[in-house]
Symmetry: C2
Subunit: 369 residues, 2 copies
């Protein structure tokens, strides 16, 4: 069995590149005394998470209760980087195995209080990181007074324990070489928060930040105790476009087949928006992906099952039936569309499940259970 | 069990609106003598397909071998509106139940010949529709000479049968009121093709076209024998923005929970790009969806699990824990992201599987089988 015989589209992972990508992050973090708590949203796979942990990751970051349950099989140290709201989600967290040391990032008393009550009733202690908005304008408090209020309540309530702060620098997406001023400004913002929290006797033990675009400049934020980048296990066109990594490190591609060359200047492949996702490219340029072996060829448009390649700027002349490998703009959402990962290692090919995909609900299980 | 108690994000379908949407299409098609062969890519669900067939659909359109297999349980008349390329895909088509009358739209000899050979070996006859490019620049031949060449070969080869032509007017996405000139031009293009095919003694029995944006103007293409719109079972923000339907017909929404109101002017919900898909809005305006009950509130940005609502233009003041219903830009790709559909009918709530989702490959089944 080899890639030439598999049905397309198929998600293909190069395991030796994954290993090298993991080592690079671990080495960087070790040399700067920062913990790596990879976000598993990128791969949602237990075996890849185990590789990250074996290499030195201090625990895992998850976004959903389903990811938490799936990953509790490989680690006892989980951060839910998402405010859990609603009876079902909180119950799912309480149902995690007893040995799991869970922390949760949240930004309101409205999230904190029900969580603390449920944890107390379950006889558990959940760690709390107060989420700060440092510019992404998504979630997070925007003043030291708010942060202190939530941190103090977390320190007082039964069932929870104040552990520190978290933030997501998702607004810093410029090329890596241009991130200096934004990171210097962020460092000052963090220093101010830490000063205020310290004065309130709420010094955080954990300062959790980080994203893949800013990954290798994390040392410019000396306050960090841990970072949570996830995309760095595979990388993608967006991240390569920012200069964070090179083309040779791209460990995930979508294998596709040319199905039509009838339209002049175009070639259609069988990877569409249901294999790649129709997310705009974040760096300069357009399209929804490029070919690994022909980086001058862009996926110019996407229908659900068709990717349309622009072949006006290449000497490559595709034929119907030819296989290509597409580098998606955003790998995390492409993985999430797949039935499984085809993992290549030294000529062997194995199917690995995307264990944490979706909500973990059986299609026909009773509603509301 | 009601919607207030289910975990979010959840895909919710209003079955009475689905029924009304189906009836409207069937009534329109009947009054104009056009067959409706709905594309199942939108819902991928057998029971919804059965409703379409019960109401009068002449068969179903599918895009993948997996959709074909799933839908062969509810109809014997299938059009694969996609060129099947590769050994596995062709074998899957040959493995469809014997009673299935399969047609395939294709645009090259390179696709036709292996298909004919496989069908002949399997003792089957597969219908062929020659795909024309009428402006979408995706797949399809662009001259009568090419169409005649493929049609003639299809008429001659064992294992296949020439049945007609197919096209996709995906380039006509302007507001419905402005489509007149484009449709008049398309009608002339079709007339030219039909004239040439007729002269070559290859008059098509089937002329298959149609998309939801042009659905209710299909009678302006008098050559059509059938149309394939799929989105018209649910509709979405894109289609409503084109004026094809009204806000009251939107039968699919993503139920979400407000998880943060910490950032001024923003509210975060737990439906992100992994529930809505980050596809740009096709009409004037931006964002990735709007709230059904508060259409002035746009999903201004999406992360994977966060939707960020812009609440600067509304008097609505969301609270953490509050439920909202999001109308996605493009319903088909949102459905494709869900574990299941929660179908509401007269106060009852049932989970329906998205049977045709993905490739139908078990996560851990052997590779290449």
């Amino acid at each position: 069995v080899n890639l030439a015989s598999v049905e397309t589209p198929a998600a293909v992972v190069d395991l030796s590149l994954v290993g090298a990508n993991i080592s690079r992050v671990v080495d960087y973090c070790r040399s700067h005394g920062i913990g790596w708590r990879p976000h598993v949203k990128t791969h949602k796979n237990r075996r890849l998470a185990q590789m990250q942990l074996d290499a030195g990751a201090i625990g895992l970051t998850v976004a959903t209760p389903h990811e938490a349950r799936v990953m509790s099989a490989v680690t006892d140290d989980l951060l839910l980087a998402y405010p859990p709201v609603g009876r079902v989600k909180i119950r799912r967290l309480m149902d995690l195995p007893e040995q799991v040391r869970l922390s949760v990032a949240l930004d309101s008393v409205a999230v904190l209080e029900p969580l603390a009550k449920a944890a107390q009733q379950a006889g558990k202690t959940v760690g709390v990181l107060v989420e700060l908005d440092v510019g992404a304008k998504r979630v997070g408090v925007s003043s030291a007074a708010e942060a202190i209020g939530i941190a103090r309540l977390a320190a007082e309530l039964e069932g929870v324990e104040y552990r520190g702060i978290a933030f997501y620098p998702g607004h810093i997406r410029s090329p890596q070489t241009e991130q200096g001023p934004a990171l210097a400004q962020l460092s000052q913002v963090l220093a101010d928060y830490l000063g205020s929290l310290g004065e309130a006797d709420l010094e955080p033990r954990v300062v959790s930040g980080g994203s893949t675009p800013t990954l290798f400049r994390s040392h410019e934020l000396p306050q960090l105790t841990e970072i949570r980048p996830g995309t760095c296990i595979f990388y993608d066109r967006d991240i390569a476009g920012m200069g964070v990594t090179t083309w040779n490190d791209l460990a995930y591609t979508v294998l596709a087949t040319v199905v039509s060359v009838a339209v002049p200047g175009r070639a259609a492949i069988d990877a569409g928006s249901k294999a790649l996702s129709k997310e705009a490219f974040r760096s300069s340029g357009d399209g929804y992906g490029v070919l690994l072996e022909h980086p001058e060829v862009v996926v110019a448009s996407l229908s659900e099952e068709h990717g349309v390649l622009d072949i006006t700027n290449t000497t490559w002349r595709p034929k119907v039936g030819e296989r290509v490998r597409v580098v998606p703009n955003h790998v995390c959402v492409s993985v999430n569309l797949q039935d499984r990962l085809l993992v290549e290692e030294e000529g062997r090919l194995e199917a690995w499940a995307i264990d944490g995909r979706g909500r973990g609900l059986a299609p026909t299980s009773p509603v509301g259970v």
